[in-house]
Point group: C2
């Protein structure tokens, strides 16, 4: 398998130090990756942290495995200005974006097996001219027209897919539709088969209202939107449970009855996964032509440069991306 690529993310954030921590755990099974970043700023960060990191610029991603045991392989993406941990600078936005673009080029050409992205600070990119709704949407655009990305969050024992994400709860309810549910379910089922090796995935679809609406007593979205979407998906041959009351879907026995839970809004999906496993949640983007994962946290500017940030989520993201890429590569065409 080719190596993974890990993007720089916001250089004033915790991405660099997390990459160091992940590389340091290579003996524990962290898969080989190359970091798309500025070698000089990484050297400075290692000195700042007082860490004896070996950082090795490489000319080609193919050189990463030979370097891996002795040093962190880095494909150079030069920064335009200095990095102060905790203080993002618009001058470096171009490099942040180039790191993402280069990652997509490498995975699209087959040189990389998957892309893992460090968190970005969207606001500073927007100040520098970034015109995409977010990180994932930018990746989808780079992947090509017609790409519909679907966010899945995963931790040991649970996978969740929110149908609506970063919008007010009121607007999430207003915009809920049969089409949104059907599209997300199809993409999720296809990815569970191709990238997770589950032959016949079972999807659990939540209700929107308390007790899944209790037959219309507490809202009609289950009757008018969710149940018709489930009917359509079943006609297409998918195995679907639902609409299920969201509060009883996520305890340990309930989780064993499905492979992924589709939820109607952000917190319905994120409350259970972050409650169960706050440190090891991973964000996986389904529906892209390549494998992409990222840690399920932000840039953590308040602790950047201190070495205190937990690398667990990034390590889990690297391991899941590697496993997904292997499953996809092994699947019959």
């Amino acid at each position: 398998m080719p190596p993974l690529v890990l993007t720089m993310g916001e250089p004033a954030g915790i991405g660099g130090e997390l990459a160091f921590a992940a590389w340091s755990r290579r003996a524990a099974g962290v898969p080989c990756f190359a970091l798309l970043d500025d070698p000089a700023r990484l050297e400075a960060l290692a000195r700042h942290l007082g860490q004896n990191m070996q950082i090795k610029p490489i000319a080609s991603l193919a050189d990463a495995p030979a370097v891996w045991n002795k040093a962190l392989p880095v494909l150079a993406v030069p920064l335009a200005g200095p990095v102060v941990p905790g203080i993002p600078a618009a001058v470096n936005a171009g490099a942040v974006i180039r790191s993402i673009e280069r990652a997509v080029e490498l995975v699209s050409s087959g040189a990389a097996s998957a892309v893992v992205t460090n968190p970005i600070q969207k606001q500073v990119l927007i100040e520098a001219g970034f015109r995409h709704p977010g990180h994932t949407e930018f990746l989808a655009e780079l992947a090509g027209p017609g790409t519909v990305p679907v966010m899945m969050l995963t931790c040991p024992g649970l996978r969740v897919v929110p149908i609506t994400i970063h919008q007010s709860l009121k607007s999430a309810i207003a915009e809920l539709s049969i089409d949104k549910i059907v599209t997300a379910a199809r993409i999720t089922a296809a990815a569970l088969i191709r990238d997770f090796g589950i032959k016949r995935p079972i999807l659990a679809i939540s209700g929107l209202n308390p007790h899944a609406g209790e037959g219309g007593a507490f809202g009609r979205e289950e009757i008018d939107i969710i149940a018709p979407a489930i009917e359509q998906l079943r006609r297409e041959g998918l195995a679907i449970e639902g609409p299920l009351p969201a509060d009883t879907m996520f305890h340990v026995r309930a989780r064993q009855r499905y492979d992924a839970a589709l939820c109607m809004y952000h917190d319905q999906a994120l409350i259970p996964i972050k409650t169960i496993d706050f440190e090891r949640g991973v964000n996986v983007t389904l529906g892209l032509p390549f494998v992409r994962s990222s840690p399920d946290h932000g840039t953590a500017l308040n602790i950047a440069g201190t070495g205190k940030a937990s690398p667990e989520s990034l390590i889990a993201a690297l391991m899941i991306a590697d496993q997904m890429a292997r499953t996809r590569a092994a699947a019959p065409r």
Copy 2:
């Protein structure tokens, strides 16, 4: 301390067999309670289950402790018709209601230390003329005018209070108000002091929207409703954290930072508690002049009469009610 009283609940449901199971665990510290039920139907249920239960009708609740070690004490509430497990009958609705009324009389007079209620089947009571929105509202009416009941769910390590409960998510958002939050928070804080012995309780108040609205980007309820409610509560001297993003409030470290979480809607409160501890959740009604708890499940008609239902939640409800009553009794007036 006087004994607890446990209501019959729906006799065709699992309440009777759970009471047997709880009494059977008396050596493990289940506090003394009397069941308000029909002794003949309990004898029949024990035979049906093949259980060698000792059932002892008592004339006065004060007799319960003397009976407790040898038999389940029962204060007779005669049923009007036969009981078929799994099939509620309107003919018995009167007895279900009388059991609740008698429990409130006993706790109001001081003969009982607290009320624990078995689950009812609301629909069959409504058919028989019950005109209250629910079990808790009926208890509040029996308690007297001006009583505002607040539902709290508790399991080891977490207490949650939903500000809105059994209504559509859309209507819950529309009806969210500063007053609702302030009232629930005051009642919760007072109960944590009086019934849980927490000198200076810390309340965590959730946001409504993803990331607690992210400064207005994902909805304005945090700015227009929740933050002003928090300001008012702080002016009254309460210790409040929030508005907090709901998805990061409930992991094990986050839970240690507060004594109870106030949530904006049903699933925001119930997803975390049922995910963490599905079996031992207990429903506690705050704001009543007496202590009341109930198991956090329904009548389970589908398994009633089989002996399969888990008594864990009822046992936890009995133990919490006993502990709350002791704390309240020990508090300086």
